[in-house]
């Protein structure tokens, strides 16, 4: 009997605690769908032409067009008028703003998202001098040949060039603006989703409208979703899905293809066709849903303005917040990105080390583990620049602390890392452990720095440390206080080579609605989380970066990686695509995700190499390194429960293949750095869709399995197992050169290319010159004085050009001119280097002793060049050798190129070399 009893007890124990299935995968039902959100459901159900708003009292005020919008919907109760404000900025930017005319009775104003628009924007405003009004339309000048047409009734805005309409606002009559008002008697504004109740104290305040991109072939942008680059329609004749959602959420095991909103939001969309790229940006940080409507979506509706078959209509819906939107006229893809980033800022040029390879894992367990991993990289001669520590390095998930057993001597550890020119990154998340012994919590509580719940108490949520509160980063004073936490004196155990990683800043709240913060939580100035939700992570990121800036006396460029992002994040630091999965589909999905981030301003981005969840096999891991080496941000990362997968753990040939991939990135660092310089001045991303470089080639518009790195490299990843032949499209009418063999391929063709495990498909575009540093080093730091290789890829006219940008790789001295910027031109058998820097840079505080010791010329036949040719370094009148050589210095590499041997000209100087 005793035994029976024991068994039964055992059984009971099991039943009580048991062990359910793993919570495997994405849980769709835990996230709110459009039809579960009344504002979205209603907006989506609205028929074209519902809006009856009309414009009156048009006037010019301070150089802007001001008008009243009246009676915008038949069904709505009469409300006050709205004010429409149209403003024009240089280079073809129209700003559209709509506000309530009167202060809403509740006293609540719509929250205008601060610190997103660049400070100099107002200086670039064009004063509208005059408007012409006739036949019910008002017309005014926008930019070179472009005009804005404001139609009075019904209210519509069009941008046109000559007779060609480019973009229209409300041409489908879906404009709807719920004005803030007082609660009526008996009215209940509460909404519930699953177990969470949203008190909605300010009631309905949604805004929605339509935007039409005329003759557009595709639309792009509005990250972050795991979707194709060219956005598929969400609604229309055939298609129907959830709208693209912009609501920053921590999504467990996200799907590789879904319109579902992920960690960050940028409400910026681009459209493209052969002649024209345009863009539309809505500065609003509330939950937003965007429908891309398939052509013919409105054919059932009797509407005078049927969508032309070649237009793409879109519907934009937010729960709250202002209508403050920007329209960009292009005309080229680069123009639109430039226009957008002139409004929201460009990517700051990163520190040089940050563009190299990062080694991360949840978690490098202790100091011995860090030391071991570091030494293994050296043992296998694999370079890396940064080793990362995830949450387990802290003392009980209290950020700015170190686990006393695992990391007793963090400074000593960093010193060792630093002695090899390497850096370290630790994680700092926005949830603060509610632990009275934790000084951050203590101060934040005393100062009232936490986000408040609807009752006005410090919001108490759940995250890694357990019970946690969240700093109110909307408040600049709190951001400043937070920034000081990163000083070397405050962050004990930190050293100047330590940089930061912000995770979970959507914010992730494990027990909140949709695993985030309740919408009625209160921020600085009584603003609800509903209104700033999508920008919360951005402010947190901003405050952390500010901390590093202060730590380095404002002359050490911060490096802070963030998971959440918003428009403007590019100015602050890099982002990555969050918790992806180690499978081929996620490898494939990383390309459109990164391309989309680049198109919407964030140039410094990457995906976790290897895939965060799960265990990649050796082939997938190798392919991921080969692709990831071309991501702008190149970091390997892995979940706590995965098997270790540092580059040497899979044995040969994989270790060598992964080393080759990483080496390739290191060789290309000068090129990447130059591209970051370009991104920082023009906004044009490092990693680009093909159509950005070949905007006329319609076959590239939906392509997202291959991409460009700058103007010079085309990369086609391998996204499946055991591939031996892969197709690749080489656009344009000029030839391409295989990156490793130097073999030449004519442009404008689809190829079936043999593929081995050795490499993915990479080509250099003819007509470009790419600077490299081919020597192997432990980290990028040691490459500083190494000589350059220039790879000159000749086009059919036997010409090529390229650029190189160098500075100290760390400070802001480049802003004072302390940099070298060279232009290389090859023409008529002569390669010249000239400065793109206005003045003599030797007096500006930066120089380089590096030489050019190898010039590889692709597109000359070696057999015709060798023997006959020598080259003359003209400045010193010295003849040097020209030989046949490989395109890359690797065992077995084909000798397909012509190599100018040891010109040894200084990279900082003007020079010319003539092939004889």
């Amino acid at each position: 009997m005793d035994c029976n009893l024991q068994f039964i007890l055992g059984l009971l124990c099991l039943l009580v605690v048991l062990i359910s299935n793993p919570a495997s995968g994405f849980k769709s039902e835990e996230f709110r769908k459009c039809n579960q959100a009344p504002f979205c459901k209603e907006a989506r159900a609205r028929k074209p032409g519902t809006s009856k708003a009309h414009v009156s009292e048009i006037s010019l005020k301070d150089g802007s067009v001001r008008a009243k919008l009246l009676s915008f919907s038949e069904t709505d109760e009469p409300a006050g008028a709205l004010i429409l404000l149209l403003t024009v900025y240089r280079e073809g930017i129209l700003r559209i703003r709509v506000k309530e005319e009167n202060e809403p009775p509740s006293g609540k104003r719509r929250f205008e998202v601060p610190d997103v628009l660049v400070t100099g924007l107002e200086d670039r405003r064009l004063w509208i001098q005059r408007v012409s009004t006739e036949n019910g339309v008002t017309v005014f000048y926008l930019a070179a040949g472009h005009e804005v047409v404001l139609q009075h009734s019904p209210f519509q805005i069009h941008v046109r060039k000559g007779s060609e309409q480019l973009v229209s606002f409300n041409s489908k009559g879906l404009f709807h603006f719920e004005q803030l008002r007082q609660k009526r008697e008996g009215e209940n504004w509460e909404e519930t989703f699953r177990s969470h109740t949203d008190s909605r104290p300010h009631g309905p305040q949604s805004v929605s409208f339509d935007v039409s991109f005329h003759k557009a072939e595709h639309v792009y942008g509005i990250p972050e979703h795991a979707t194709r680059l060219a956005l598929k329609p969400t609604r229309g004749t055939e298609e129907y899905s959830e709208p693209y959602r912009l609501f920053n959420l921590d999504v467990f095991e996200y799907l590789e293809e879904s319109p579902f909103g992920l960690y960050g939001s940028i409400p910026f969309m681009l459209s493209h066709n052969q002649d024209r790229t345009t863009g539309f940006f809505w500065l609003n940080a509330a939950e937003m849903l965007i429908d891309v409507l398939a052509p013919g979506w409105d054919k059932e509706v009797d509407n005078e303005e049927k969508t032309a078959a070649s237009s793409i209509d879109t519907q934009w819906i937010t729960e709250s917040g202002p209508l403050d939107a920007f329209l960009f006229v292009g005309p080229t893809p680069k123009d639109v990105v430039k226009q957008y980033t002139s409004v929201t800022g460009t990517t700051t040029i990163p520190q040089y080390f940050a563009t190299a390879y990062h080694q991360c894992r949840w978690n490098y367990k202790d100091e011995a583990d860090v030391k071991h991993v570091d030494s293994k990289f050296d043992e296998f001669d694999i370079p890396y620049d940064v080793i990362w520590l995830d949450i387990e390095h802290t003392d009980g998930k209290k950020y700015f602390t170190w686990d006393p057993i695992l990391f007793p001597n963090p400074e000593e550890m960093q010193k060792k890392i630093a002695s090899k020119g390497r850096h370290m990154v630790t994680i700092v998340d926005p949830h603060i452990k509610r632990d009275d012994g934790y000084w951050v919590h203590k101060e934040a509580t005393e100062e009232g720095y936490y986000v408040k719940d609807v009752q006005g108490r410090d919001y108490d949520g759940w995250c890694w440390p357990g019970s946690s509160s969240y700093l109110d980063m909307v408040n600049p004073a709190i951001r400043s206080w937070w920034a000081d936490k990163f000083s070397l004196s405050s962050y004990k155990g930190s050293t100047p080579i330590l940089y930061i990683w912000n995770d979970m800043n959507e914010p992730s709240v494990f027990n909140g609605p949709e695993a985030s913060m309740p919408r009625d939580n209160l921020h600085y100035g009584g603003v609800e989380n509903r209104d700033i939700h999508n920008a919360y992570g951005y402010y947190f990121h901003m405050a952390s970066a500010e901390g590093l800036l202060r730590r380095g006396d404002a002359n050490d460029r911060p490096f802070v990686l963030s998971r959440a992002f918003f428009a403007g994040t590019q100015r602050v630091g890099p982002v990555w695509t969050g918790d992806n999965t180690a499978d081929w589909d996620h490898l494939r999905a990383s390309v459109p995700m990164i391309l989309t981030l680049g198109l919407t301003g964030i140039a410094f981005t990457g995906a976790d190499v290897g895939g965060f969840f799960g265990n990649p096999d050796s082939e997938l891991l190798t392919r991921w390194y080969q692709l990831g080496a071309f991501y702008p941000f190149f970091r390997a990362h892995a979940h706590l429960d995965t098997k270790r997968r540092e580059p040497w753990l899979f044995g040969e040939p994989y270790t060598s293949l992964i080393r080759n991939a990483i080496d390739t990135r290191y060789a290309l660092l000068p090129y990447y750095y130059t591209l970051f310089k370009e991104a920082s001045t023009t906004g044009v991303p490092v990693m680009r869709p093909l159509w950005m470089e070949f905007p006329k080639d319609a076959s590239t518009y939906a392509m997202d399995d291959e991409f460009m790195v700058g103007q010079g490299l085309l990369v086609r990843g391998i996204y499946a197992e055991g591939i031996s032949v892969e197709s690749v499209y080489l656009p344009g009418d000029e030839p391409w050169y295989h990156f490793e063999t130097g073999a030449e391929y004519a442009g404008g063709h689809h190829y079936k290319m043999p593929v081995t495990l050795e490499s993915i498909l990479v080509f250099q575009k003819s007509g470009t010159i790419i600077p490299r540093k081919d020597r192997h080093r432990r980290s990028s730091t040691q490459t500083e004085k190494d000589p350059f290789t220039l790879v000159v890829a000749l086009n059919t006219a036997k010409q090529a050009e390229g650029e190189l940008y160098i500075d100290d790789g760390k400070s802001y001295d480049f802003e004072k001119g302390a940099f070298i910027h060279r232009k290389f031109i090859f023409s008529k058998g002569r390669l010249t280097s000239s400065s793109l820097h206005g003045q003599d840079n030797s007096r500006k505080g930066f120089s380089s002793s590096s030489l050019v010791d190898r010039i590889i010329i692709l597109g000359l036949k070696p057999e015709e060049s060798i023997g006959k040719h020598r080259a003359l370094v003209e400045s010193v009148n010295q003849k040097i050798d020209v030989e046949r050589g490989p395109t890359i210095l690797r065992r077995g590499a084909a000798l397909n190129a012509v190599v100018i041997r040891m010109p040894n000209v200084a990279i900082a100087d003007d020079w010319s070399i003539q092939l004889l």
Binding site: D2, C3, N4, Q6, F7, I8, L9, G10, L11, C13, L14, V16, V17, L18, I19, S20, N21, P22, A23, S24, K27, R194, S195, E253, D369, D381, P383, I405, S419, K420, G421, G461, W462, C463, W464, G466, S467, V509, F510, N511, H639, L640, D641, T642, K643, D663, D774, R775, H776, R777, R778, Q782, D853, R854, L889, R890, R891, G892, R901, M902
Partner: protein
């Protein structure tokens, strides 16, 4: 720092004197391909830059035209170490960083020579103890070879001492093992003889007993029949309506018991099944079933919800209703406790079972099942026996006596057979080339590390214990890597990860001692154990050779 030609010449000569067994492929191929030319190589006019060249390879670089080792091209001698990579394989730049594939040799006089990747040359970090890898003036490296060499020689000496001493211990162990093994083999054959005799006894008794029991059964049947008839009569007199009621006590009650037993068995089964299912699905050990989770999430408290969502990333168990007390940050805690509860009960069962064997009524133990591995079934059987035992009638003293004799003999046989199988199991194990691991069979090695106690029992299993919680790190899976590693595999399942496993690296040492336990990858443990068993003579000889080499090199350098 650079080589001068006279010293390199001497080095080359020395090398030839000692027949240079390690002559590289490069050298060999050079001799073949460049052939006689090389042999006649004329003295070099200009001072060649011979930095970074292994003395063994100097000859390769002596001619005025040198071939890249991969034969892709040749280069004139002035291009040797001219800081431009001509050979893809790095042949022409042993002393610079120009070729990614080249290697830099530093002689490290006073210590031992080293070969570096070219990436280390002039990178501003001192790698060779003689500092020869940094010669471009960026950084000054002091020569630390003498101290480093001294340290390493001392270390080698210590190691040698350990090996010598360890080897003695090992030899003793091996002798003891040989002796003991022989003894136990003899014991085994004695036991087997005994077994045979005892089996005969049991057989005879069984025949006797069967006859008696057969008679008994017939008697029983008769009685039962009479009883039935009696009852039938009774029933008839009471009437049909009550038939079912009256049937209950006689017919259903035994079934009741059976049901109860089978219930217990089923629940055992299902318990096991559920456990397996849970681990199969990489059990996120939460209270809530996945399917129903969505609904259940709604009813959770805020804290429970937070923990549950967190657990998706971490796989930590979420405890319901605080039943197991405080929140544990060890994800396996609860599971382990449960495991132990089950273990305990099975242990108890075992004890009960053993008592049984010594019990005079143990004759119901089914000998066929005695050796079955399946514990579960054994437990069930014993469970049943336990129940039935109380129903054994013992009336006739004659029957009882024979039965007791039979039972005693049987029980003796059982214990004998158990001894035999234990001994057989032991003797068929792999105890190493010389039986040096024989004594490991009956030992466990332990190490306390923070809150955990690690227990390594060779030939059996390994575990990680924390208070009352135990995780099985694996069961014995033999030696690997030429007896340098002991492997334990198929331990408890990890959430989202592999089954736990442990590799124990063996090192020569004077004591059997666990030096470290680590978990370099989730749930894949690695331990280090010193033991005299790993103090091999071959290794000692190699170390001695190493020492002689170091000494002669040092001598030469001085």
């Amino acid at each position: 720092m650079a080589w001068n030609s006279s010293s390199s010449g001497r080095r080359l000569l020395d090398c030839e004197d000692r027949k240079c067994v390690g002559a590289s492929w490069a050298l060999v191929s050079a001799i073949f391909t460049v052939g006689s030319l090389l042999a006649l190589a004329s003295p070099i006019a200009a001072t060649p830059d011979l930095k970074g060249i292994d003395p063994k390879d100097l000859q390769y670089y002596e001619s005025s035209i040198i071939w890249c080792r991969d034969k892709s091209k040749s280069f004139p001698r002035e291009r040797l170490n001219d800081n431009f990579c001509d050979c893809r394989d790095g042949t022409d730049e042993p002393g610079t960083s120009a070729c990614p594939e080249s290697k830099f040799y530093c002689s490290n006089i006073g210590h031992r020579p080293e070969t570096l990747f070219s990436s280390r040359v002039n990178d501003g970090i001192c790698d060779c103890c003689d500092g020869s890898d940094e010669y471009d003036g960026k950084i000054k490296c002091s020569n630390t070879c003498w101290e480093a060499g001294k340290k390493s020689r001392e270390k080698l000496e210590k190691k040698l001492a350990t090996f010598k001493e360890g080897l003695k211990l090992r030899t003793k162990d091996v002798d003891y093992a040989r002796h003991k093994r022989k003894e136990q083999q003899e014991e085994l054959s004695t036991l087997k003889k005994d077994e045979k005799n005892l089996k005969d006894v049991v057989k005879k008794l069984k025949v006797h007993l069967d006859a008696i029991e057969k008679a008994e059964k017939e008697e029983e049947l008769k009685r039962a029949k009479a009883e039935q008839e009696r009852q039938a009569k009774q029933n008839a007199s009471i009437g049909n309506t009550n038939a079912s009621v009256t049937e209950t006590p006689t017919e259903v009650r035994p079934e009741d018991f059976e049901v109860e037993i089978s219930d217990v068995q089923n629940s055992e089964d299902s318990q096991v099944e559920e456990k397996e299912a849970g681990s199969h699905e990489e059990g996120l050990e939460t209270v809530v079933q996945s399917e129903g989770e969505s609904e259940n999430l709604e009813s959770l408290s805020k804290e429970e919800l937070g923990k549950l969502v967190a657990s998706r990333w971490t796989g930590e168990k979420v405890e319901h209703e605080g039943r197991f007390g405080e929140n544990s940050d060890n994800s396996h805690h609860v599971m382990e406790e449960t495991d132990e509860a089950v273990d305990d009960s099975s242990n108890n069962l075992h004890e009960t079972g053993e008592e049984f064997e010594n019990n005079e009524n143990a004759d119901w133990v089914n000998e066929d099942r005695e050796n079955e591995d399946n514990e579960e079934e054994e437990e069930e059987e014993e469970e049943e026996d336990n129940y039935e035992k109380t129903y054994v009638p013992s009336e006739h003293t004659e029957v009882e006596r024979i039965r007791r004799e039979f039972s005693e003999a049987n029980s003796k046989l059982t214990s004998l057979q158990r001894k035999i199988s234990d001994l057989e199991l032991k003797l068929k194990q792999d105890f190493g080339k010389d039986g040096e691991f024989f004594s490991f069979y009956d030992q466990c090695f332990e190490m306390k590390l923070n809150k955990y106690l690690y227990k390594i029992c060779p030939y059996k299993q390994a575990s990680q214990n924390e208070n009352h919680a135990t995780s099985r790190l694996g069961t014995w899976d033999g030696f690997k890597d030429d007896y340098k590693v002991m492997v334990f595999s198929n331990g408890d399942k990890c959430w989202n990860g592999p089954d736990r496993s442990l590799k124990v690296r063996l090192r020569c040492g004077l004591k059997n001692e666990v030096l470290s336990v680590e978990e370099p990858s989730r749930c894949e443990y690695v331990a280090e154990l010193t033991t005299p068993a790993s103090c091999l003579e071959s290794k000692l000889l190699a170390l001695q050779q190493q020492q002689r080499n170091a000494e002669s090199q040092l001598h030469e350098e001085l």
